[in-house]
């Protein structure tokens, strides 16, 4: 999520679209805006739009969502209404474009001010530069003072929490820094064989493990390679001894060809090199199984799943049903991922004044909606506002979000839909979604994205 320019008013979004289409692309009407703002690569990467690419992307990032002509008409009408509503304001100045509300004209654009008008120039310049990421403004409540929440939104009774018995809270995990330039990612066949051999040796050390026999999938008993690598060489494919991952977006092959094995070995190899990897798989069950497989080889992982109460309930219930099939209806049993799908909120242990017949909302805990008054310089309490729960650095229910933020968790596994989930406000200083974070995260360690062939 990006911070919009200071002068941006959502109701005047049609003016900002007009600024891009008129001043950058030289167009005289807004019709076609829905295609320009669709985000399709076939459009955004068109050479004729080179000069407007950043501005169009910025418009999408600040939430200008025009998916159809109806949306466009709504935006134009809303801008016109806003102008009429604010025309009498003391600080009112007329927006730079007059946009026809008649669809028959294609929402024709007419300039009200000269092109060198400072306001019009400022609009243009702000759209042509990189918009800053929106900062996470919400702060955690002070755990040395009591705070409260309402289990039923604003109407329920207050529940007072007292966490003063906690002498100090654990610190937040260190978040991976933003990506810097990296070298191409190249894996040699020899490296793949070496990691396969290492994993087989690790399996052999534990007689209770079912051996996965990775090496034999790469090399026959006689030592002959099971598969060969061919790379483009001019207009031909030539034998190669290494795999270059840069730019690879598809892997196809018959069932049993070894796609998943290859991906698994690559992930372990890259993680052991300290690289960061995101694995996108078709289901939470698949993600949990992969998490267990990687944990078996001591690869530090994090589970990229929806953190909403409904998503948590759905995932935890399905996991509980799976654990119940292990033995004893799940009693005394656990499975990989259970520690990341905790269902009980630690704050429940610190409720000091529960209202009558109060039941703690473990399913919808007040992680981001506790209320506490600010503290003035003179020590008196000021205005009350919403705060983040201060126990997030220790609470078991937040373990998954904590691990996702932790720079040490090198492999993130989840469903592609889960990448469209906001980062936890508890552990990040900027507001963004996971897919943005994936694109940005790296450090000297890089962040390749590998999607399973079944995803």
């Amino acid at each position: 999520m990006r911070n919009p320019p200071a002068s941006f008013v959502p109701a005047l979004r049609a003016q900002w679209i007009a600024c891009v289409m008129h001043d950058i692309l030289g167009m005289k009407r807004l019709s076609g805006a829905s295609a320009l703002l669709s985000g399709y690569r076939s459009i955004t990467r068109h050479p004729r739009l080179d000069s407007a690419r950043i501005a169009l992307r910025n418009l999408r990032l600040i939430g200008v969502n025009i998916e159809s002509d109806a949306h466009l008409q709504e935006a134009v009408m809303e801008a016109r209404v806003w102008e009429e509503d604010h025309a009498q304001d003391e600080d009112y100045s007329e927006p730079p474009f007059e946009i026809s509300t008649d669809p028959g004209t294609g929402f024709a654009i007419r300039e009200r001010v000269r092109s060198n008008d400072p306001r019009r120039q400022a609009m243009l310049q702000s759209l042509l530069r990189k918009l800053p990421q929106a900062p996470e403004a919400r702060a955690a409540a002070d755990h040395t003072r009591s705070f409260r929440f309402r289990p039923d939104g604003d109407n329920g009774p207050d529940v007072i929490c007292d966490t003063r018995s906690i002498s100090s809270l654990r610190s937040s995990p260190e978040v991976a820094p933003d990506k810097s330039l990296r070298d191409p990612i190249v894996v040699t066949i020899a490296e793949l064989e070496a990691i396969a051999r290492t994993l087989d040796e690790e399996d052999a050390c534990d007689p209770t493990r079912l051996p996965r026999n990775f090496l034999i999938r790469l090399k026959s008993f006689g030592g002959d390679p099971v598969f060969s690598v061919l790379s483009p060489n001019g207009d031909q494919l030539a034998p190669d001894s290494e795999i270059s991952l840069d730019g690879v977006s598809h892997m196809i092959g018959l069932p049993g060809a070894g796609k998943s094995t290859l991906i698994f070995l690559l992930v372990v190899l890259l993680a052991r090199q300290g690289r960061r990897v995101t694995l996108l798989v078709p289901s939470i069950e698949f993600a949990l199984a992969l998490d267990a497989d990687l944990a078996r080889y001591s690869v530090p992982t994090a589970l990229l799943v929806g953190q909403s109460p409904d998503a948590r309930r759905s995932h935890a219930t399905r996991l509980a049903e799976r654990i119940a099939t292990l033995d004893s209806g799940g009693f005394g049993q656990t499975a990989a991922g259970a520690e990341l799908l905790g269902t009980r909120c630690a704050l429940s242990g610190f409720v000091s004044v529960p209202p009558p017949s109060f039941e703690f909302p473990h399913n919808r805990p007040p992680c981001i909606s506790v209320r506490q008054a600010s503290l003035k310089k003179d020590g008196k309490e000021g205005r009350e506002g919403y705060r983040l729960c201060p126990l997030s650095t220790s609470c078991g229910r937040q373990r998954s979000a904590r691990r996702l933020a932790d720079a040490d968790a090198l492999v993130h596994i989840g469903h592609v839909i889960s990448t469209d989930v906001s980062l936890s406000p508890h552990f990040h200083t900027e507001r963004m979604r996971h897919f943005e974070r994936i694109a940005r995260t790296g450090t000297s360690r890089q962040h390749p994205r590998i999607a399973s062939s079944r995803s």
Binding site: A320, S328, G329, G330, F331, G342, T343, A346, C395
Partner: protein, 370 residues
């Protein structure tokens, strides 16, 4: 890591008691066919978990009160002192308590003792014990007083049985009425115990099932899943191979956990005393003791990991043992050998008014034989 004033021993003990009650109630649900549903936990389990979370956070360690699955797995594997919560670790007096037995998974006797603290005597009475006593009440023969012992001994000695053979046994002893209940308490041989040809192995030590194991070098005939048996014989040996599983049944996990596992030491003691000419029976007078003779001699075999909890529990209620003139509490040899000063700590913790002799199973046998 810090321990604050809030972690006073009382608060810690209350948390442990609530967790114990929670596990017992959760297990009751499992026995009724439910599964562990993290969104439908017994209230005591929820309260116990929230108190545990509080202990974790005030001690600045990882919260382990958020997932019932992880917590019950932890309770199955480790004594509470090793859970990573400073307030539960030594010098907390119940740090050695194990709440769940590892195999088969069920609340331990210690868990029941903790859960029952501050409750009425029969608040957490073993449901099987009660059902068996009800059967005994319905029997109208001269041997009525022996029926309880006969059935219980039979279960401990043969946890896997063939239906017709058991029916014959019950008929011979005049307790056909128990046939239906024993069938309810047991299940067919689980598929996991069967070998490819449909046969299965019986444990040479306890008579339970041997499950095929991945580590064939250590468990060539399979592995027994009754914890105390594995402690006695770490590499299970086959006692018999049954070619066809049809008609065979095994008692449910909780019977294996509550009666068969702990019963191994009781049977050893009983057999040793009988072999030495001491006239004792198993579970005399409706389970007033584990091994005994009329009102004269009673021996209870206790498998508590924590001697302090055992001492305190016996101080509060000696149970049926109090009705005997000579009272012994015997601890399995392996347990005493593994934990130094077990008996010293037990004697120190026992503050009951009735004199009781504590010792290893082998020592108690020697004392009784004289």
């Amino acid at each position: 890591m810090v321990t604050t004033q809030a972690d006073s021993e009382d608060e810690v003990e209350v948390a442990l008691r609530m967790l114990s009650r929670g596990f017992l109630e959760l297990h009751l649900g499992i026995r009724a066919g439910e599964i562990v549903d993290p969104f439908a936990l017994p209230e005591s389990m929820g309260v116990g978990m929230q108190m545990l979370s509080r202990l974790c956070l005030t001690s600045e360690v990882n919260d382990i009160g958020d997932s019932v699955h992880c917590l019950s797995d932890l309770a199955r594997r480790l004594p509470v002192g090793d859970w990573g919560v400073p307030a539960l670790a030594a010098p907390f007096r119940f740090a050695e308590v194990k709440l769940l037995s590892p195999e088969p998974v069920a609340p331990t006797e210690e868990c029941r003792a903790l859960a029952a603290r501050g409750q009425s005597d029969n608040a957490f009475e073993d449901i099987h014990h009660r059902q068996l006593r009800e059967i005994v009440q319905r029997v109208r023969t001269d041997r009525r007083l022996q029926i309880y012992s006969i059935i219980r001994e039979r279960i401990v000695r043969k946890p896997v049985y063939e239906r017709r053979e058991l029916s014959d046994f019950l008929e011979d002893n005049g307790v056909v009425v128990a046939d239906e209940v024993l069938r309810r308490w047991s299940t067919e041989i689980p598929l996991g115990a069967l070998r490819r040809d449909g046969s299965f192995n019986l444990c040479g030590n306890c008579g339970g099932l041997l499950y095929p194991h991945r580590d064939r070098a250590a468990f060539p005939h399979g592995r027994c899943r009754i914890g105390p048996c594995l402690e006695e014989v770490p590499s299970s040996r086959s006692g018999a191979t049954i070619a066809d599983a049809s008609g065979w049944r095994i008692f449910a996990d909780d019977i294996l956990a509550y009666w068969v596992g702990p019963g191994l030491s009781e049977i050893r003691l009983h057999d040793e005393l009988r072999a030495a000419g001491v006239d004792v029976v198993l579970y005399p007078r409706d389970d007033a003791a584990d091994v005994g003779r009329s009102h004269e001699l009673g021996v209870d075999v206790k498998s508590y990991s924590c001697p302090r909890l055992l001492g305190e529990t016996l101080s509060e209620r000696l149970g049926g043992l109090a009705t005997f003139d000579r009272r012994y509490v015997a601890i399995p040899n392996a347990m005493v050998d593994r934990r130094p000063h077990y008996l010293d700590d037990l004697r120190l913790a026992y503050r009951g008014t009735m004199p009781v002799t504590f010792g290893k199973v082998s020592d108690v046998a020697r004392l009784v034989i004289g």
